[in-house]
């Protein structure tokens, strides 16, 4: 049966409730082995610790006040480096992580107070494939559907269909460890889809896939999205967010830095091509010289890294290298990036994503 928006999910479509809503979402993890509220006392006789010394951290703040609203049917990307809080966000939205503060709703259901209702509506593809290794490939799909109350006969039919769709039908009876990485990834998507969820969560779905498999997966995700499903995906690949997502939230260190369509975000990126030179020492002197060069819009230094935004990248490179040499430095590495989500991210955080 072909899915049309009006007949497929009447309940969700009828309501104006966003697919996802979070308000001031905060998550703090205690560091293992460190007891909170008990700062180490200096031993008697030893000099008191200077008051300027930072107290050893007792906790990790993974999310600090995240506000998000994702519409029904949207393809939404959470973009950020490792440790940005993406996986924690997905963890909270999929009811596996308890928020420290704030609220989160999936299809209007509170992830803490009504976690069972949330789980009924979602499909999750984890960051690392975690198939049930005691079961065959087909059983992984059939049992997962049954855990969601899908009758066995329907579950079997859907499993057959999905095994074909994801080209693992010939491995249906195999043990899951006999599958390749890409096949396991596909099995995980099939499993996330088999109970027909309203919202799909994909945590770094293409990590570890070769380019061919990655592009194939993109096609599949577009198709799943075209069926009217909401997709929330985390990634640290700029290109992936740009290619797939209707809106992208850029997160870093638990904070939302920017949220817009990829096109609008790119428009916010500083003008010009980013030329990043890695020098053999401090880049401050070279940066001062580079600012005076024609065609350089902006220039900044961060330790040994010199970042210049140039009107025309190719023409400015020779001048930048000369500026570095005049400042007594030699160039170790050069990185080019046209205006993109990546240059926006670098200008916002001073760091590269990958």
């Amino acid at each position: 049966m072909t899915l049309t928006e009006t007949e497929a999910r009447p309940a969700s479509r009828a309501s104006s409730e966003p697919a996802i809503r979070t308000r001031a979402l905060r998550k703090v993890y205690p560091l293992p082995g460190v007891k909170r509220g008990k700062p180490a006392r200096p031993t008697p006789g030893s000099a008191p610790a200077p008051s300027t010394a930072p107290a050893p951290p007792t906790e990790v703040v993974a999310l600090q006040g995240l506000d998000l609203e994702i519409a029904q049917g949207e393809f939404f990307g959470l973009l950020g480096p490792n440790g940005a809080g993406k996986t924690t966000t997905i963890g909270i939205l999929t009811t596996r992580v308890r928020p420290t503060d704030g609220q989160a709703f999936v299809s209007g259901c509170d992830v803490v107070k009504d976690s069972v209702a949330v789980r009924r509506r979602i499909g999750v593809m984890p960051q690392r494939p975690n198939p049930d290794r005691q079961l065959s490939v087909r059983e992984n799909l059939v049992f997962h559907a049954c855990y969601f109350g899908v009758p066995a006969a329907v579950a079997n039919a859907r499993a057959t269909e999905l095994l074909g769709t994801f080209e693992i039908a010939d491995r249906a009876a195999s043990k899951v460890e006999q599958l390749s990485g890409g096949q396991q990834q596909r099995l995980m998507i099939a499993r996330a889809l088999i109970h027909d969820p309203e919202v799909m969560f994909l945590d770094e779905p293409t990590v570890g896939l070769d380019p061919l498999a990655r592009h194939a997966l993109w096609s599949t995700l577009r198709r799943i999205h075209s069926e009217g499903r909401t997709i929330v995906m985390t990634t640290h690949y700029m290109e992936e967010a740009d290619q797939l997502c209707e809106r992208v939230a850029i997160v870093d260190r638990g904070r939302l830095l920017a949220l817009d369509t990829p096109a609008n975000l790119k428009a916010q990126a500083p003008g010009g091509t980013l030329i990043e030179l890695t020098l053999d020492g401090d880049a401050t002197g070279a940066c001062d010289l580079a600012r005076a060069l024609p065609g350089i819009l902006r220039c900044e230094s961060q330790q040994a890294v010199l970042r210049a935004f140039a009107e025309r990248g190719g023409e400015s490179i020779a001048g930048l290298i000369r500026a570095a040499e005049n400042a007594g430095r030699s160039v170790r590495d050069v990185h080019f990036a046209p205006p993109s989500l990546e240059t926006l991210f670098i200008s916002m955080t001073g760091r590269r994503l990958e």
């Binding site: 899915l3 969601f148 109350g149 769709t165 194939a216 997966l217």
Partner: protein, 280 residues
């Protein structure tokens, strides 16, 4: 999957039927979880039996056959031994049937996550594991009882009159030990599994009144009190009450009440530990 393959997927990746997202019964989810565990258990039945029943049966060989034949143990000892052997088999089968999968499922691969996503309260997933442990424990007892009887030969004082009582004691004992398995399996890091056997399980077996009746300990009164903390004592004594009622044993009412209390306590500890592992 190639792009062309994706392109010929047709209009929908998966056929979707209209259904009410709110209607999932906990019972059907529970049954699906149990069916999964039974499918896996059936596949591993032989290795499971070897793992759980071989050691008690070797005990039967030595203490129930060789020693009496050599004259080092009284012929009547087998009547004391058999209920104890059944108690050990049941306890460790139920415990292992829950603890080992828990350790693997919550380990590096986090395989249990597909079940933790099921739209039921998380406690139900832990409860299903305990039920699955009870079933596997009972299967092992049903296997060990006739084999042990075969090895020991006729046992004076053995009576199968109170089979209902035996099943009741077995159910309660299996519930207590499956709950203990839930607790240990979620609280002990997998790399310390050897320590768990040495420090917890071995003393439990030897001080569990499996090889001797609790009444016999009256010659060492401190011991007689100290072992009361061990749930295996009540299971072994309960088995004696049901199978060899003429020999000394604790009253069935006492053993059953204590097994219920221990099952409740261990279930509570196991559930708490399970939820701690399942949620962060």
């Amino acid at each position: 999957m190639s792009d062309t393959a994706a392109a010929r997927l047709g209009p929908a990746v998966v056929s979707v039927t209209t259904r009410d997202a709110r209607a999932v019964s906990s019972v059907s989810v529970f049954m699906a979880l149990l069916r999964r565990d039974m499918v896996v258990a059936r596949r591993e039945l032989i290795s499971f039996l070897v793992r759980t029943a071989l050691q008690p049966l070797l005990g039967v060989m030595v203490f129930g056959f060789l020693l009496p034949h050599m004259g080092f143990a009284a012929r009547g000892y087998t009547a004391t031994l058999l209920p104890g052997i059944l108690a050990i088999s049941l306890a460790f089968a139920s415990l292992q049937a829950v603890a080992f999968p828990m350790m693997a499922d919550f380990g590096y691969t986090k395989e249990i996550e597909d079940r933790l996503l099921a739209p039921v309260p998380i406690g139900l997933i832990a409860f299903e594991k305990v039920i699955s442990g009870i079933i596997q424990g009972l299967i092992v007892v049903a296997f060990v009882l006739p084999v042990a009887r075969l090895i020991m030969g006729p046992i004076a004082g053995l009576s199968l009159q109170n089979l209902g009582g035996m099943v009741g004691v077995a159910l309660l004992g299996a519930a207590a030990f499956a709950s203990l398995g839930l607790w240990l399996g979620t609280a002990i890091p997998p790399q310390q599994i050897g320590l768990m056997f040495a420090v917890i399980l071995a003393p439990m077996i030897f001080f569990g009144c499996a090889y001797y009746p609790w009444a016999g300990l009256r010659t060492v009164p401190v011991m007689q009190i100290a072992v009361l903390i061990n749930p295996l004592v009540y299971l072994a004594e309960g088995m004696r009450g049901a199978l060899t009622p003429k020999l000394p044993h604790m009253p069935l009412a006492v053993t059953c009440s204590m097994l219920v209390a221990m099952a409740v306590l261990l279930w509570w500890a196991g559930l708490k530990s399970f939820i701690k592992r399942a949620m962060s």
